[in-house]
Symmetry: C2
Subunit: 209 residues, 2 copies
């Protein structure tokens, strides 16, 4: 839990202007969320913007029964979809759900209009975030177009957060979901990896070797 101002400010090292930091402290508020909490809903107007301090928010779009993972908002990042929606006073077209215990700095979206003309670091931050999200999407895009699913699964496993025992806690179903395919396909591929001694399968988690 982030209590004191000093700790909090270390998370905002990319905003060097002292007055800006003061504003963030003055108008911002640190909220804690637990896994499963919903931060943004499709169809809602966005009045507050988040900067994640610790943890992660999963942002995705939903159409009929299909889901598209856009990105995870992680420490020091903001949600570009929320930003754009708030900026133009549009409803959100995405969902944002907390996937692990998460602390978020929340501030009123209206402030960004002033910040744009006052704080260059804010503009830099925004463009950097947009660029990063775009690159992430290009990467997924590339994966889907050019790589076979086994490669994408392997890639996912390599990037996934490990615990101390080299365990990735995820079910086949969830993994299928993340990669936009079906459980059977994932199970088949993982079994193959196990045969090749790359991983070891357990109920509820995967051990990487």
């Amino acid at each position: 839990m982030i209590e004191d101002l000093k700790t909090f400010q270390t998370y905002l090292k990319f905003f060097p202007e002292p007055e800006f930091r003061e504003e963030l402290v003055k108008y911002g508020q640190v909220n804690s969320f637990k896994k499963g909490d919903i931060i943004v809903r499709d169809g809602q107007y966005v009045k507050f913007l988040p900067i994640v301090l610790t943890g992660a928010i999963r942002v995705y779009q939903q159409k009929e029964d299909r889901e598209i993972l856009l990105y995870y908002v992680r420490a020091e990042e903001t949600c570009t979809m929320s930003l754009a929606a708030a900026y133009f006073n549009n409803k959100s077209s995405s969902h944002g759900v907390v996937t692990e215990p998460t602390e978020v700095l929340i501030f009123p979206a209206d402030l960004i209009y002033q910040w744009q003309s006052k704080y260059p670091s804010w503009n830099k931050y925004v463009i950097h975030m947009f660029r990063r999200r775009y690159d992430e999407l290009i990467n997924s895009f590339e994966g889907i177009v050019f790589d076979h699913i086994p490669d994408r699964v392997w890639d996912y496993l390599k990037r996934a957060p490990l615990n101390t025992e080299n365990h990735i806690h995820i079910s086949h179903q969830q993994l299928a979901h993340e990669l936009g395919t079906t459980r059977v396909v994932i199970s088949r591929i993982l079994k193959q990896f196990e045969k090749e001694k790359k991983i070891k399968l357990f109920r509820g988690y995967i051990e990487l070797k």
Copy 2:
């Protein structure tokens, strides 16, 4: 050919500030390009930014022999990849090639730092462009994940610019390229559409019914 200032300014209606328009005229320059001209190259630093007045620039990334189409920069739009690259003084990671006779307003990239604090409409424009590009990419993404190629071809045909005779001037090879597949697949699908009386095939163009 855009000659007079008045005509030129009608293209910039989303920049209402008179001083901003003056700056654009003062520091900007209208250049004409023909099909095939290269505007940006992968690996080059970006010193000037474009706003397209008429025509289109195809922006794509190239990795080994594979190509990813990012977007077309059309009238009133700018190239977000160039913008981000220029902003952070990075080399471009994309190519930009003119696909039809095109007129572009070019201005020195350094100006954008000042514009951010001086002209709200500029910031609005930038965020709008980033958002649009992102949405476009999500759309392609969706298509690739969820739709079969015939659907994507049909979608492409419906959106494609028609001439007065309902003709789309594109070869099967080009179409395959746009959709990230091969010529044979496209020919096969188009032939099927023709059987279903949806289109009529000719050498070099397709008639929509």
